[in-house]
């Protein structure tokens, strides 16, 4: 049986993992390669690295971290941040990424999704969306959630799938950093419009929020979070055992004695 996935997200700036609350007030947490090892060992199903660096030097640090992580961690690795053209896909794939997440770059140029999907396959293209309620509808936001594009987010999700996106990351700005639970209403609305896998992001505060997520919106395939994992408020190992106990299919790592 296919398992629901638990995915920690590492926002990387100047070679360090950071996490904002409502995208502001960034605090330093730890070293990305160490954290990738830690998450790999405790059963994370995938890792997402998000490059929030603007400078050339920061980008070089990021690609170095990516290379080192990809050489040591053997679970799927998704990379996002600063992906504006097909050559950016090439840059991070060459460092060992398996999937590439596009956000603002696809808003500026929607054809980027189809160009990348044709070249690297649908499975490689993850469309990440920052969404906020504006006047009773869901709007797509750009530039790390700072700018309202006025685009209807549900239509954007649908169009993204048509253009060849292989998965969606749905990040609710309204619930992000609040730790009050995932945005079930938004996720249900997106799920009714697309058939590709959906990764829910924004709002996880405790283990029960993941149970509610997977039970209330069965079309959601994965839950993504950052700070609750980084600050060890929720352990991935304990979370997955708990969810399995709640009847949600999970990949549970067996601790085998023989080591490779």
């Amino acid at each position: 049986m296919i398992a629901k996935r638990i995915i920690p997200c590492l926002d990387v700036k100047n070679g360090r993992v950071v996490k904002g609350v409502n995208f502001e007030g960034i605090q330093d947490v730890a070293d990305p390669v160490d954290m990738a090892h830690f998450y790999n060992d405790c059963g994370a199903d995938e890792l997402v690295f998000y490059d929030i660096t603007a400078s050339f030097e920061g980008r070089a640090l990021f690609t170095d971290i990516l290379r080192r992580t990809a050489a040591e961690i053997f679970i799927p690795l998704t990379v996002g941040g600063g992906i504006n053209e097909v050559s950016d896909f090439e840059r991070v794939l060459a460092c060992g990424a398996d999937k590439v997440s596009v956000n603002s770059g696809a808003i500026k140029n929607p054809d980027l999704i189809s160009q990348a999907a044709r070249r690297y396959g649908d499975q490689c293209v993850v469309l990440s969306m920052d969404i906020k309620r504006v006047g009773g509808s869901f709007h797509l936001f750009a530039k790390g959630g700072r700018v309202d594009t006025g685009i209807d987010a549900l239509q954007w999700a649908h169009d993204g799938q048509e253009r060849g996106a292989g998965e969606l990351v749905v990040n609710s700005i309204d619930t992000d950093g609040v730790k009050g639970g995932f945005d079930l209403e938004l996720l249900q609305a997106i799920a009714s419009r697309v058939s590709i896998p959906i990764i829910a992001s924004g709002g996880a505060g405790c283990m029960e929020h993941f149970t509610t997520l997977f039970k209330s919106v069965p079309a959601v395939d994965a839950g993504l979070a950052a700070s609750i994992f980084h600050r060890k408020e929720v352990s991935i190992e304990a979370l997955k055992k708990y969810l399995a106990g709640e009847g949600i299919p999970m990949r549970i790592i067996q601790n085998k004695e023989e080591n490779l």
Binding site: A3, F74, Q123, G166, E167, R251
Partner: protein
């Protein structure tokens, strides 16, 4: 020495790093002499069958791989590389495979009796139906990472392990010295490394 056959599709670094991690010497190559002299071969692959097969044909390596496999050199196909081991695929048309394992590649979607998402992406458990070399270090119920929309059908006795996705998806297949995994062992954590170790030894 294991030769990872490089015919211009996909990222081969993860696979190479995985093999190095378990102490298996490997080389990413499209050089016929290096392939001929390697102890074992891995045929990787992502993307669409027709494009990938054309790229493989363009490298001129297709007949060499078939010959070496028939001579008994161990060959492992991964994901699309596994699919290419079969007779033919019906992904966007009809394409000839390498005919090293009897069977064909068909879309998952029309065979589903319940509406499941396609591609089949994520971690799924293995049900071992016929233990083979690749399953030597893994156990019933271990999870591996899949990403695909097509699957092997009518493969007869080649099935070694499968995963349930409404239909039984062949995960591990084998025919003598020819092996295949539909999932990505290089992305399947510790379990994937164990599968590669069994092949590499």
């Amino acid at each position: 020495m294991i030769a990872i056959i490089d015919y211009g599709v996909g990222n081969l670094y993860s696979l190479s790093h995985s093999l190095s991690h378990i102490g298996a010497e490997n080389i990413i190559t499209r050089n016929p002499s290096e392939i001929e002299h390697a102890d074992k071969l891995i045929l990787p692959g992502v993307g669409a069958f027709g494009d990938a097969k054309k790229k493989l044909d363009d490298t001129g390596l297709t007949s060499l791989i078939i010959r070496l496999a028939k001579e008994g050199k161990p060959l492992l196909g991964i994901c699309l590389g596994m699919q290419m081991l079969f007779d033919k695929s019906f992904e966007y048309g009809e394409h000839e495979g390498l005919h090293l394992i009897p069977g064909e590649i068909r879309p998952i979607e029309p065979d589903l009796s319940v509406p499941l998402k396609v591609p089949h992406i994520g971690w799924n458990t293995l049900h071992i139906t016929r233990p083979c070399l690749l399953t030597k270090y893994i156990s019933e119920g271990d999870s591996v990472y899949y990403v695909h929309s097509y699957y092997a059908k009518n493969i007869g006795s080649a099935l070694s392990a499968s995963s349930e996705y409404d239909v039984a998806i062949p995960g591990v297949v084998t025919n003598g010295n020819v092996f295949g995994t539909q999932f990505h062992p290089e992305k399947s954590g510790e379990i994937g490394l164990r599968i590669l170790k069994a092949f590499a030894e």
